[in-house]
């Protein structure tokens, strides 16, 4: 069995973002980078399937040279090899283009199961996985919080609104997009980090995979307008607490 997990490198969401010179994306300098949180659950699930079945597991990541750092984490978590689709323009591509790169790479590889995160933390479109499945002609199930594999069938739990879950079945080959809470992503151990350094990391130029033309254009990136009206309290915690209590007495009935 052959498995593929697709990951993305994103900035830490606690970062202080600045808008880039073109005004259409965030400034990529001076940011701390990490694996997209949703993808950590995808990698963990893929590694669990590999451990249970002896399957071969490839991790794929699209982006500039720096994404290799994030790929090393996936390799240390247990992926067998990495495929780096080298692309300095990945942050400007729309989800359909990214999906077209994944599909172009995966098209003739015969993967039985493809895992992705349900969305990225920076763009949050939630489109790439499903679009890649459509381009590959595979069934896809989104937002999974439960996963079981038996023979060539997967039974997964989809997370719906209000805590309701749906149980869904599909036959391999298939693609699933992973939601937070699907499993507990492992921390790479030091020996596994060392081993990961020796694992194969192939590079493919994005241009060689002929990405599709963009369907979506970003006109501008802005900071949301603060709705205002909110009072900021800062300084000594004792004073902050006193001021907060005064406000609660004035503005709410909960301390009455």
């Amino acid at each position: 069995m052959k498995l593929l997990v697709c990951i993305k490198q994103v900035p830490d969401m606690e970062s202080k973002f600045k808008i880039d010179a073109d005004g259409v994306w965030y400034d990529r300098s001076d940011l701390a980078w990490r694996m997209n949180e949703y993808d950590e659950f995808a990698v963990e699930q893929a590694v669990q399937v590999k451990e249970a079945t002896g399957a071969d597991l490839t991790v794929l990541c699209i982006g500039p040279e720096q994404v290799k750092e994030t790929m090393k984490k996936a390799l240390a978590m247990g992926c067998d090899r990495g495929v780096h689709i080298a692309d300095d323009q990945s942050h400007r591509r729309d989800p359909y283009q990214i999906a077209s790169l994944i599909a172009a790479f995966a098209g003739d590889k015969g993967f039985d199961l493809i895992f992705t995160g349900m969305q990225s933390q920076d763009r949050g479109s939630g489109q790439v996985g499903v679009m890649a499945a459509e381009l590959l002609g595979l069934p896809a199930v989104t937002t999974i919080v439960g996963f079981a594999l038996a023979g060539d069938k997967i039974t997964v739990k989809r997370e719906l609104e209000g805590g309701v879950k749906a149980t869904v079945e599909a036959t391999l080959p298939a693609l699933v997009t992973c939601q937070l809470g699907l499993n507990t992503p492992r921390y790479p151990t030091l020996p596994n980090i060392m081993k990961a350094k020796k694992k194969e990391l192939l590079a493919v130029a994005a241009a060689d995979l002929s990405p599709a033309d963009a369907l979506l254009q970003t006109v501008k990136l802005t900071f949301p307008e603060k709705k205002g009206g909110g009072v900021f309290l800062e300084g000594d915690v004792g004073e902050v607490a006193d001021r907060l209590i005064r406000i609660l007495k004035e503005k709410t009935s909960v301390l009455a």
């Binding site: 900035p11 969401m13 606690e14 973002f17 808008i19 989800p95 359909y96 933390q121 920076d122 949050g124 479109s125 939630g126 489109q127 499903v130 679009m131 459509e134 896809a140 199930v141 989104t142 937002t143 989809r158 997370e159 719906l160 609104e161 209000g162 805590g163 309701v164 749906a166 149980t167 869904v168 599909a170 036959t171 937070l180 369907l215 979506l216 254009q217 970003t218 006109v219 990136l221 802005t222 900071f223 949301p224 603060k226 709705k227 909110g230 009072v231 900021f232 309290l233 800062e234 915690v237 004792g238 902050v240 607490a241 907060l244 209590i245 406000i247 609660l248 503005k251 709410t252 301390l255």
Partner: protein
Amino acid sequence: MKMLLVAEYRQKKLLESYTELLAFAGQFGADCAMFLVGDGAAELPKFAGKLYLADVATFGEYNPDAHKRLLLDVVAQEQPEMIVLSHSSYGWDLAPRLAAGLKAAQVSEVVAVDDGRLVVPACNAKLRRTVSGTGAVTVATLQAGAFSLAEAAAGSPEVIAVTGEGQGRVALLGYEAAEHGGVDLTKSEVIVSAGRGVGKPDNIPLVANLAKALGGEYGASRPVVDAQWVEHNRQVGTTGLTVAPKLYVACGISGAVQHLAGMKKSEFVVAINTDRDAPIGDVADVFAVADLKQLLPVLTEKLQAL
């Protein structure tokens, strides 16, 4: 502008969210048709226009292959410039299939319309992108609660039955109800919630003690529940509870849209966070820029002394 609105039917019920699609279309003065896989004998969307209706008994509530094919047929007939869904577990699953099938741009989780262009959040709502499709048709999903009708929806649709191949490669086996039992946060007048900023499970009692001092209950955001620091029945947000207490205190919660959707109707919101740019500030009446580990014990003690 011609729009096709995709309504939802789940667990044998028409979802009210179709009214949000109508509110969005209203901003464009669009000429609308609607699509629904539902039950013609049950409640239908209140809407004066064409309703393309496929029978849920044949096509299922979740059968993305079949729903996509039905929709592509309707799109071919109606030739809409925009296809609009809710950004929901149904919408975000179906929309990319349609977009890929039509080779159309998809715009996910629209929160606003700016001069005819669509605005979506980025980076946990810290930023906003204004986008536009490059082709003749765009598929859009709308953030829950971002658009609402000023008046109740009215009218009865002209039903056009649609049918086709019902087979799909993904089969819905059934639903699992939400875990309840124990506390019911929706009935609490005060909720103090813990977010990722609490740092470790040992700090949950700080939040619980403040809740107690305020005569309320404690809740949590999703990451805290996923980490199993707090039980699921206390989770506030899209995938948990929607609450509207008199006072909501968000401790170490950045304010991801999924969380805001679950608590933004609270009467009074206090945010306690070290990051004064955290999006929770958008809904906070008071924002205490402080480390909750320092502020909470002091605040709790002062409240107990009242």
